[in-house]
C-alpha cells in the first residue's frame, strides 16, 4: 500500500481530551488512568494488543460506559456523565466492530437516519408530509446523496442492508456516521475482515473524509500498515494502560510497544 503524503489539513487545538480515566467492570480493570488528547483535524490511531481496552475507551468517549474516575473534555466542555445521544448531539459519531446497521431498512434509509438530529419538523408536519416536512426531507436527501456519491454506493441505494456483503456494510456504516456531520468520528476497526483492495478503498474514504469534510478522526485499527500510513499521531494501550503516545515513527520504534505486541512478560 503506497503511503499518501502527510496530513493536508492544518491540525489545530485540542478537540477532545481524556484525563486520568479509569474504568472497571466488577473486578476487571478495563482502563487504568489513561490520558491523551485528540487535536482538531487530525487522524488519531488507538492501537494495542487484544484486550487492551481500546473499544472500552471509545465506549467511554461515546457515553456508553461511565468511567469511575477521570474527566473528558470535548469542545471545551468537561463532562462527568454522558449518554450516547448526548454525545451524538455534541457532535460525536461512531462505527462499530460488529457492524451496527439497521437491518430492516435499505441503504438509503440507513444513511437518512444519520440525518435525524438535523431534522426538526415536528409530528404534525410529518403527518401531513406535503409542505415543510417534504421540503426538509428532500433537502436532507440531497446531503445524503452527496455522501452516497462520495462513497460510491449509488447502485445499492435501495438494497436492504441484510443482503449486502460485509465490506459494503462497513462502508455504509461510515456513510451513516458521516451523515451526522460530526466534529469527531470514532471508527472501531473499520478495516476488520477486509481484503487489500477494500482496505485501500476504505483508507481513501477515511482520508478524504478528513480532508474534504474536515472531520477529526479517532480510529482503532490492527493493521499496522494502515495505522502508519493514515494517522498523524498514535496512542498505544496495553492491559488498560497507556504505554506510548506520539507520531507513528516514534511509536514504531518504542521498545515498550514492541514488547507488548510480541507478548514479552512484564
Amino acid at each position: 500500500m503506497r503511503a499518501p503524503s502527510g496530513p493536508n489539513v492544518a491540525v489545530g487545538d485540542v478537540l477532545l481530551s481524556v484525563e486520568n480515566v479509569s474504568l472497571s467492570f466488577g473486578g476487571v480493570k478495563a482502563v487504568s488512568d489513561v490520558s491523551f488528547d485528540i487535536r482538531k483535524g487530525e487522524i488519531r490511531a488507538i492501537i494495542g494488543p487484544n484486550g487492551a481496552g481500546k473499544t472500552s475507551m471509545l465506549n467511554i468517549i461515546n457515553g456508553f460506559y461511565q468511567p469511575q474516575q477521570g474527566r473528558i473534555t470535548f469542545n471545551g466542555q468537561t463532562r462527568s456523565k454522558m449518554r450516547p445521544h448526548d454525545a451524538a448531539h455534541g457532535g460525536i459519531a461512531r462505527t462499530f466492530q460488529n457492524v451496527a446497521l439497521f437491518r430492516g431498512m435499505t441503504v438509503l434509509d440507513n444513511i437518512m437516519t444519520g440525518r435525524t438530529l438535523k431534522m426538526h419538523k415536528n409530528f404534525f408536519w410529518q403527518l401531513l408530509r406535503f409542505g415543510p416536512a417534504l421540503t426538509e426531507e428532500v433537502e436532507h436527501r440531497l446531503r445524503v446523496e452527496e455522501i452516497i456519491d462520495f462513497l460510491k454506493i449509488q447502485n445499492i441505494r435501495r438494497t436492504p442492508v441484510a443482503q449486502l456483503p460485509y465490506g459494503l456494510q462497513k462502508r455504509l456504516e461510515l456513510g451513516r456516521a458521516l451523515a451526522m456531520e460530526p466534529d469527531l468520528l470514532l471508527l472501531d476497526e473499520p478495516m476488520a475482515g477486509m481484503n487489500l483492495e477494500e482496505k485501500e478503498d476504505m483508507s481513501r474514504f477515511i482520508l478524504d473524509a478528513n480532508n474534504h469534510f474536515g472531520t477529526t478522526i479517532a480510529l482503532i485499527e490492527h493493521d499496522m500498515g494502515v495505522v502508519m500510513d493514515l494517522s498523524d499521531r498514535v496512542v498505544v494501550l496495553d492491559h488498560g494502560i497507556r504505554i506510548a503516545d506520539g507520531t507513528p515513527d516514534e511509536v514504531k520504534s518504542n521498545q515498550a510497544v514492541i514488547d507488548a505486541y510480541l507478548g514479552v512478560a512484564h
Binding site: T55, N59, F64, F96, A100
Partner: protein, 327 residues
C-alpha cells in the same frame, strides 16, 4: 385521610383480628401458587431447552386433562368395569398421546422453523394454541367436564386444624397437589443439573449450532423436552381439574403463568416455584383483604400488576439472568 387508613391500616387490622382466616387465605394462596408454578414449570422446561416461549402450554394443560377424561369415558363405555382400572389405563394412554403430540410438534413446527428468530417461534405457538383449542372442542366438546379424581384415587376430604382461635381447613387434595408438585420440581431440577440428557438440554438452550457441532441431536432433545412439558401439563391438568372443572376457561388462567415467569425468571426451575407462590399468595391476599375496597374480581389483573411493579425494579426477575448487551 380516611382513604389512606382504609388502604394501609385496615386490612392489616383485619388480618390480625382473625388470624385463622389469614392462615386459611395464605394456604389457599400457596396452593394456587403451586398450581401456577406447575404451569410455569412447563414454560421453563421448554424455554430452557429450546429457547421457545411456548404460549401453548396452557392449552396443553386443558388438552391433556380433556384427553384423560375423554379416554376414561370411552373405556367405560367399551365395558371396562372397574373405574380405577379405566382411570389408570386412560392415564397411560394419555401419556402416549402427549408423546405423540410432542413428536408431531417437533416434526411439523419446530423442525421447519429451526433457524428463525425467537419471535417467529413464539408466534408459531400461538398458532398451535388455536389449533389445539379447535381440535379439543371438536373431539371432546366444549362443555366443562368433571375430573376423574375418585377413580384416580386422589385423596378427598379435609383436615381441619384448630388453631389461632378458630379453624383452618386443609383440603387433602391440596396437600397432595403441593407434595406432587414439589416432587416433580425436585426431580426436574436434579434431571437438569446432574444427568447427561439434562446437560444436553442446557446446551441446546444456549446455542443450537454449538450443540449440533458436538453431536447432540436437536430433534431428539426437543421431543424429550416437549414430552416432559406434556407430562407436567398432564399432572397440572389433573390437579387443576380436580379442584374445579375441566374447561377451556383454564386456558386463560394459564396466562397467569406469565407473571410467575417474570418474577421467577424464564429459565429457573426453583424460580418458577418461588414466583408461583409469591403470585398465588399475593393474589389471594390482595383479593381477600383489599378487594372489597376496589371492587370484586381484581384477581383477573392483580397478578400482572404485581409482576409489572416488580419488573420496574428488577427487569430480569428474581432468578433470571442479567441481560448484558455487548457492544
Amino acid at each position: 385521610m380516611d382513604l389512606l387508613y382504609k388502604i394501609f391500616f385496615d386490612p392489616f387490622v383485619q388480618m390480625g383480628s382473625a388470624p385463622d382466616l389469614l392462615v386459611q387465605t395464605l394456604w389457599e394462596g400457596l396452593v394456587s401458587g403451586v398450581l401456577y408454578a406447575l404451569i410455569a414449570l412447563g414454560f421453563v422446561l421448554i424455554f430452557k431447552a429450546s429457547g421457545v416461549f411456548n404460549f401453548a402450554q396452557g392449552i396443553m394443560v386443558v388438552f391433556a386433562a380433556l384427553t384423560l377424561v375423554g379416554l376414561h369415558a370411552m373405556l367405560r363405555q367399551w365395558g371396562v368395569s372397574s373405574g380405577t382400572i379405566a382411570a389408570y389405563l386412560a392415564l397411560a394412554m394419555t401419556v402416549a398421546v402427549m408423546f405423540g403430540l410432542a413428536f408431531a410438534i417437533e416434526r411439523l413446527v419446530l423442525r421447519p422453523l429451526v433457524n428463525q428468530p425467537d419471535i417467529i417461534l413464539f408466534m408459531a405457538t400461538f398458532g398451535m394454541t388455536y389449533f389445539l383449542i379447535g381440535l379439543g372442542e371438536l373431539v371432546f366438546g366444549g362443555e366443562p367436564k368433571v375430573m376423574i379424581a375418585d377413580d384416580l384415587h386422589l385423596p378427598r376430604g379435609a383436615i381441619d386444624v384448630k388453631m389461632l382461635g378458630g379453624f383452618v381447613s386443609f383440603q387433602k387434595l391440596d396437600i397432595a397437589a403441593a407434595l406432587i408438585a414439589s416432587v416433580m420440581v425436585a426431580v426436574l431440577a436434579v434431571f437438569f443439573q446432574k444427568t447427561r440428557i439434562g446437560r444436553a438440554l442446557r446446551a441446546v438452550a444456549d446455542s443450537h449450532k454449538a450443540a449440533l457441532s458436538v453431536g447432540i441431536s436437536l430433534e431428539q432433545i426437543w421431543v424429550v423436552v416437549w414430552f416432559a412439558a406434556g407430562i407436567v401439563a398432564l399432572v397440572t391438568g389433573i390437579m387443576w381439574g380436580a379442584r374445579s372443572d375441566v374447561s377451556f376457561a383454564l386456558e386463560t388462567v394459564a396466562l397467569k403463568a406469565l407473571p410467575v415467569l417474570i418474577l421467577g425468571g424464564f429459565t429457573s426451575i426453583p424460580g418458577a416455584i418461588v414466583g408461583g407462590i409469591i403470585i398465588g399468595v399475593g393474589e389471594k391476599l390482595g383479593e381477600f383483604y383489599w378487594g372489597p375496597l376496589i371492587g370484586s374480581g381484581i384477581e383477573s389483573w392483580l397478578a400482572y400488576v404485581i409482576a409489572l411493579v416488580f419488573l420496574l425494579f428488577r427487569p430480569q426477575g428474581l432468578f433470571g439472568e442479567r441481560i448484558i448487551e455487548r457492544i
